[in-house]
Symmetry: C2
Subunit: 335 residues, 2 copies
């Protein structure tokens, strides 16, 4: 392992000069800097993050935390974030909270994370008050992608508007009996995504002179399986909507699957629209309200890097990324 002393010896300068030259600090003559850089390159020298981190307290890594390890949404955010973070020389430390409570505690352990990462990127995670407090106690810059968390800068989409866009599309096609699949009855933390999307849905329906029918709302978490269950639940009720707005594309895929299993044609008998523009949605001809999730990851990472660089903790800001209706073949006028 080549160390800083090897470079210094070879260049005939002190290790202090090597350190300064390589990190672009002022107070090094152009000639010396060039010499040191050349020798470092020749020797393939890279400073050890451990050693550099001890005196500075910086790790050179950013922790990216998601509720579960996989899922289209999380990997897309991660991809965008990783791209930016890598460009700026940060390592990406990956954590997920799927391993029950123990992992969750670990991630919100002030000391643990503080000693491992310079900053934190949290995806779409409902946080309780203790966890928010722990994050602040960390004294590290934190960014959230998804829900608004008090006191923490957020990159998000306007979920009420998402609900409006989806429902408006259906209403404009002529639908008046529109179901909504979304909302997690097990959520006790008040995760606002589904409720907000439903708010936009109800608002647009009322504008069209339709009072939302509670029997047309069925709960669904963000999975294909939940979409199937949601459709089954709906079919078991005494209602026959002509359209359905699903809280995510994966839910919409489940709904389409279950509907077709029962011989209900999409879009002839039932129009279906989702949210996200999941990688696979176009394959299903699924109409959707698209969000640019990679871009959300990128923006969050850029903001984080900015705060890491400047050392200034700006006011917690909320950046709203626009969403866009994409009409495909899963929606059509009612017959």
């Amino acid at each position: 392992m080549t160390g800083i002393v090897d470079v210094a010896a070879r260049a005939g300068v002190s290790v202090a000069t090597v350190s300064r030259a390589l990190r672009g600090l002022p107070g090094v003559s152009a000639a010396t800097r060039q010499l040191v850089q050349d020798i470092a390159a020749e020797l393939g020298y890279v400073a050890s993050p451990s050693a550099a981190g001890l005196p500075t307290g910086r790790t050179g890594a950013v922790a990216v935390v998601s509720p579960i390890a996989r899922g289209w949404y999380f990997t897309a955010v991660l991809e965008g974030a990783q791209e930016v973070l890598a460009q700026h020389g940060y390592d990406v430390l990956r954590y997920d909270l799927s391993e029950v409570e123990t992992n969750r505690r670990k991630v919100f352990d002030t000391q643990l994370l503080r000693k491992r990462a310079d900053g934190l990127l949290i995806m779409s995670l409902p946080l309780d008050a203790d966890e928010v407090a722990a994050l602040h106690a960390m004294h590290r810059p934190v960014m959230v992608v998804g829900p608004i968390v008090p006191g923490i800068p957020t990159i998000r989409v306007d979920d009420v508007e998402v609900g409006r866009q989806a429902t408006r599309h259906l209403v404009e096609l002529g639908h008046r009996s529109v179901a909504f699949a979304g909302g997690d009855p097990d959520d006790h933390l008040g995760f606002p995504v589904s409720p907000d999307r439903r708010l936009g849905y109800a608002e647009v329906l009322r504008e069209a002179g339709v009072e939302p029918d509670p029997r047309l709302t069925v709960p669904a978490k963000f999975t294909v399986e939940a979409g199937i269950a949601a459709y089954e639940e709906l079919a078991s009720r005494d209602v026959r909507p002509t359209a359905l707005f699903a809280v995510s594309d994966e839910v919409a895929m489940g709904v389409m699957y279950a509907a077709r299993q029962r011989g209900v044609r999409v879009p002839e008998d039932l129009s279906v629209i989702g949210v996200d523009d999941h990688d696979m949605s176009w394959l299903f001809g699924l109409s959707t309200v698209a969000q640019d999730v990679r871009e959300e990851g990128r923006l969050a990472a850029m903001a984080l890097v900015e705060r890491l660089r400047s050392g200034i903790d700006t006011e917690p800001s909320i950046t709203t990324v626009p969403t866009e209706l994409i009409a495909r073949t899963s929606t059509a006028p009612p017959r």
Copy 2:
């Protein structure tokens, strides 16, 4: 930040004793160990990885490298690996090589990675001789998931057998005119996955008395788009196979999509089978040769942890994970 001296002071022992007590080293009385553990817990003390890493040369992190950031396969391997790694207290450092050559060099930079991670998990990446050499020069345990790399332990599936299983299913259904979609004409590193699967395909066909027809093989990388292009290419040729074996489920999905666009029914006019059992495959009723990708990630991580713990570098071994045919509704006897 609570440091080891704080714990030592509070416990009335030396930092050496704290260090030993907390890491479970021998030579500490039960009573002292208990006392130190209690105080550490009370203070929320965690050793700084940077500080611990300096004297030991260990980072406590494992780097997980994939060719691209996303994709069902890579995230599934990562999920399995991360589960095991987290259980054993290792941090996961995530690298991907999508950022062109510069990133690739970075990852194979002996010094850089060596100073950041204790071990390396490489996914499905064709490596050239220089890269393999760099990996060895790193003197860190390396595991590969996917292709066999000389001198490096591998977790893999038997791709020739995969080809056999898929083709045998089609042949047993009665198909004799079977197409193959797979193989990347741009690959100059001899990535063996597609060729091996095609080998199994050809073998089973010959056993059934059918000489593989070169016109029935169309190239396709591992994407849905490639599957669409592959079907288009096939349709443009003067052949009408009754079945198609796609090198992956995503390719198969593209083939099914393109076929249906042209009014070709699956499975009535064309049986389609893929490989992987992708999360979404059941939604398409896609028959497939399933591999347990999470398990591959888990096994690789377990082997890596084992080598990290023992410090013994065992002989490079090759572990083959079994694959299994899942027949769904995309395959049927020819009409």
